[in-house]
Symmetry: C2
Subunit: 327 residues, 2 copies
Amino acid sequence: MDNEFDWIRSIQPKTHKQKTVEVGIGDDAAIVRPNDGCDTVLAVDTMVEGVHFTKDTMTAEDIGYKALAVNLSDIAAMGAVPLYYIVSIAVPKTGWSQEETRGIYRGMAELAEIHEIDLIGGDTVSINGPLVISVTIGGEVEKDCRLLRQNAQAGDIVFVTGPLGRSPYGLDHLLEYGRERADEMPAVYPYVEAHQRPFPQVAIGRFLACQDVRIALNDISDGIAHEAKEIAEASGAAVILEWESLPVDEKLKEAPLSKQEDWVLYGGEEFQLVGTVSAQDWFILKREAKEHGFELTAVGEVTAGEGVFLRRNDTIEQISRSGYTHF
Amino acid sequence: MDNEFDWIRSIQPKTHKQKTVEVGIGDDAAIVRPNDGCDTVLAVDTMVEGVHFTKDTMTAEDIGYKALAVNLSDIAAMGAVPLYYIVSIAVPKTGWSQEETRGIYRGMAELAEIHEIDLIGGDTVSINGPLVISVTIGGEVEKDCRLLRQNAQAGDIVFVTGPLGRSPYGLDHLLEYGRERADEMPAVYPYVEAHQRPFPQVAIGRFLACQDVRIALNDISDGIAHEAKEIAEASGAAVILEWESLPVDEKLKEAPLSKQEDWVLYGGEEFQLVGTVSAQDWFILKREAKEHGFELTAVGEVTAGEGVFLRRNDTIEQISRSGYTHF
């Protein structure tokens, strides 16, 4: 590989899209100028080769794209505007060519272009082990406008922003057929793409942040059962999900119920948003969303108590599994 | 290990020291409120087991302490006030106990306490490989007050904030004797500590930022030869370092000259600051610094041209090695 300094030059953007960036890559730290009236929103997500991806399931560009997408999803869940990102990458001493590593940055740049955000800093190190990429993202949101998990109240409607289970369904096919074959299967490809290049719901997040109603919001990174549990715990309430209301593609319904549950309830990396809003605001919110081109679906309710429950065929069961955890 | 959520609870601070922190750990992202009239300063540094440290040279607490210290050093080099940090950690599936991993957070918390900064977010993942810790730090500096690398001009004095070569000298002894024996050697321990627990020069950085004179500044993370080269390149000038002026402990001078050069010119992880200031401002700056308890040492000059040169015994040689790089 080039030396570290040529490498930095090769990934350094020539211009910045955001006027908020005062000093980007090339000094000890980056400098950004906050906009008046806004709070800064910061999140980090890390992806490890062999845990979150392998070369068998993702191209280098996919890996970069997804590493940024999962961070954009955190920004979306706060209703914030993404502005800039910082990349720390540990590149294996063997097995990854410089061109492949550049591909990761190309994948990030592609998604950054869509959201008009800037790469402003980073660190590149080597590792005797798998590739590790860690992205820190920064954005801003109007002061005191917060879509926190703790905002749910008994009586709220629980809603989601799109279909569930697509990414884990795609992953299952990737693992079964491999990346190159799965990419060639038209019926499967949309699901494979949902896994490789998830679409962060930044626009819906901003729409929700601007509605001036109390909303609790989470992105679905670890399966809706787990995210609902986080909202329930943070808010001191219980959540009941309605199995029949969860938006699921017909294709997934061809599989046995236990498989469907794996994908829809516990499947990770969905990156839709799950939220709650009072019953009286729900119908206005849904209609307003529709006018903006967003489809919100009611999938359950918040009640007094604790835990997450599933209602199906008039029976209610507590959900005890809590999605994917990293230990 | 506990599940991910118990783990997050175990490392989550109970209170925040900075009023700027609006939402810390526990939601999709952290929220901080920028102070009026300030820019935000952000940096990231990553340490990889087997590359930047091993268990033979550092305790878990040392690793955490240093991971935060290297980031504080970046903030220092921008003359900024550190405010908060975000930690991404990839924990090996074997070989690291939960107690050891907690030790890393204790080490960070110890240094964070001194600088009154808050842990506001992070990500914990597992890895089939070495431990990787990546810290993103945030701070703030008065608008347009910037100690950038590109600020140097021909005629400037080059200065450093403290003795050089201590950390690499300590590392050599750590590698020779191992951590436990080196810790017991009184003559060596201060140097071992310089490697394990470097002291970030945040206070001097703030002093320099407040002087209202043109200053170029870098932290010495990769050896002064390399940092001087960065200043020279960014400023379109050359730097001449005076070997006899470089502040070096007597102990290091007992070694052969080539060893001294390795430690003093090319030794990484020094974390003193190197800067430049005009000759006419230099004497006032040095005196003011002294009154604040800081010792600045002139070690060379900036001239027209390009490259970094070493003057020794009235001869001048270009320095071609450029310090430690990660490839």
